[in-house]
């Protein structure tokens, strides 16, 4: 069995400052990995380097492509990387408006990835869009509304539908529940968990919310100052943290 994603010594510097340093891990099919740390710990830099949004200074991000097995996505040509970006990969932004086209209808937003990979039948595209709106619990009657008319939670669910419509194998998520009400967060988490299991998705979730990773992530990496200070099973890291920083992080969370 091959890992779906193999990250090796990934490093990104901003001048003298470290973005992330020497990060390595394997992600296996069906696994959800959480990356936690406070603001500025490098977790978003790491995510963006892995997803091809930022060019790292060193290291490799190997992805198990459908046709050629493990390929380094950093040295891969831009067309290949973009093709990955609209087929096997998905990226869910913290702010839905960064991941949606706000002046395009909900149906058009969901259909874009299909059209990008060659779908040319309006009726079929629309059927898929309706199906996906249903799966993220958006009423089909809203298919022609623009995201500007949606609530924050709906926008985030629409962004997820737009990303998952092509059946990706790996989803990058940057604070997917950030900025949402607690009750809306719960609904979104439930939805994500269901989709992850039904579609056999692998996911990497960056968040500062330990409750989110406890519910969603199988594994956890804790980052501080650009370094991974601890990694392991999510519940083990949270319940029996070994590193000083993790202990501090876990003990700082308000219990409810």
């Amino acid at each position: 069995m091959t890992p779906l994603l193999k990250v090796e010594s990934l490093t990104k510097r901003y001048g003298a400052r470290i973005g992330c340093s020497d990060v390595s891990f394997d992600l296996w099919p069906g696994e959800v990995m959480g990356i936690v740390g406070e603001s500025g710990s490098g977790k978003s830099t790491l995510l963006n380097c892995m997803a091809g949004h930022l060019a790292p200074d060193a290291g490799r991000v190997m992805f198990d492509t459908r046709t050629e097995g493990l390929q380094d996505t950093i040295t891969m040509s831009e067309p290949e990387r973009r093709m990955l970006g609209r087929t096997d990969w998905a990226f869910v932004h913290q702010h839905a408006r960064d991941g949606l086209r706000m002046n395009v209808s909900a149906g058009g937003n969901v259909g874009e990835r299909l059209m990008a990979v060659g779908a040319r039948h309006y009726g079929e595209i629309r059927d898929s869009a309706e199906d996906w709106l249903g799966r993220v619990e958006i009423d089909a009657s809203r298919i022609d509304d623009r995201p500007t008319a949606f609530s924050g939670g709906m926008q985030q669910r629409l962004q997820i539908a737009r990303n998952l419509v092509t059946g990706p194998r790996l989803v990058f998520m940057d604070e997917p529940t950030g900025g949402l009400d607690v009750s809306v967060q719960a609904r979104l988490l439930d939805l994500l968990r269901g989709l992850v299991r039904e579609m056999g998705l692998s996911a990497i979730i960056v968040t500062h919310d330990l409750a989110v990773v406890r519910l969603l992530a199988d594994r956890l990496m804790v980052m501080k100052d650009g370094h991974v200070v601890e990694k392991g099973l999510t519940d083990q890291v949270l319940d029996d943290p070994q590193h000083a920083y993790t202990q501090l992080l876990v003990s700082s969370v308000l219990q409810v």
Partner: protein
């Protein structure tokens, strides 16, 4: 002849524009940047087309200029006069007699030949512009043939209007490669672009882009399998010449809702009437 250099522009500028044109012809549908000059007319009046025409014209050429199909509107008359004065070339209103035709928003009805060049005035050369504001991003999308977004626009049309409501500047794909804005011609004219015998050149002055279609280039209008492209026009014959195959303008003739349809291509209509074709209101028109 005046003191102007032939066709207004200096020779170095014309060479620069010709290089852009040749590159455009070599890569059909690709937008070639060029150093657009200030012309003695405002942007939006066809400065791109005028520069391409200036670089194309030779003293032996005969020029025709049309605006919305007509030879006698302000824009067409001004540009024709401009080249009469600065290049001293002959001009004509007859499509078949012209060797260079500069056009705004139409393609003549009469099929063009290998001896002719059609120059389009283009306001916004980037077909992806209204969907993606970043030029860097649109250039990347062209380079990578990342054209899903183009169909999103057509999808939105159908979702909102029940059909592809884009009636002009309808996007096309050239030789299965570049998506191209055909300039704001009615989509009725789109099929004429494909396999045309004449050279087609496109100039956008403000946006500083030139692109081109060599003779007999395949040009396909984008569509969906279940919503195929249709070259639509007003469902009526020309009231003056009776033509059923030409693109029509609707003209309001009185304050009582009276209207008539006439050929947008004035030369085509004139030639047909001269050959004895008469439309429903043609007689009264002649009598008046």
């Amino acid at each position: 002849m005046s003191d102007y250099n032939f066709a207004y522009l200096d020779e170095q500028t014309k060479r620069m524009i010709r290089r852009a044109i040749l590159k455009g012809l070599a890569i059909p549908g690709y937008q070639v940047p060029f150093a657009s000059r200030e012309m003695p007319m405002p942007y939006g009046w066809g400065t791109g087309g005028v520069q391409v025409s200036a670089a194309t014209l030779t003293p032996e050429d005969r020029l025709k200029v049309i605006d919305q199909g007509a030879d006698d509107t302000t824009n067409a008359v001004s540009i024709r006069k401009f080249f009469e004065r600065t290049a001293g070339v002959e001009t004509t209103e007859e499509t078949a007699q012209a060797s260079v035709i500069q056009t705004r928003h139409r393609i003549p009805e009469e099929p063009l030949t290998e001896d002719q060049v059609l120059v389009y005035q283009v306001p916004i050369p980037e077909p992806l512009r209204f969907l993606e504001p970043s030029e860097i991003e649109t250039r990347k999308m062209h380079a990578l043939e990342d054209y899903g977004l183009m169909h999103v626009k057509l999808y939105e049309d159908i979702a909102r209007h029940g059909q592809i409501a884009t009636a002009y500047a309808y996007p096309v794909k050239v030789e299965g490669r570049y998506v191209m804005d055909p300039s704001p011609i009615p989509k009725f004219d789109n099929p004429k672009m494909s396999g045309m015998a004449a050279i087609q050149l496109f100039g956008a002055g403000r946006e500083q882009r030139i692109y081109a279609l060599p003779p007999y280039t395949q040009v396909v209008s984008l569509d969906f399998r279940d919503y195929p492209f249709e070259a639509s026009k007003a469902d009526a014959p020309c009231d003056l010449c009776g033509a059923e195959d030409s693109y029509l303008d609707e003209v309001i003739v009185d304050d009582a809702g009276g209207r008539m349809f006439v050929c947008s291509d004035t030369d085509y209509c004139r030639a047909r009437r001269a050959a004895g074709h008469v439309g429903a209101q043609g007689k009264t028109e002649d009598a008046a």
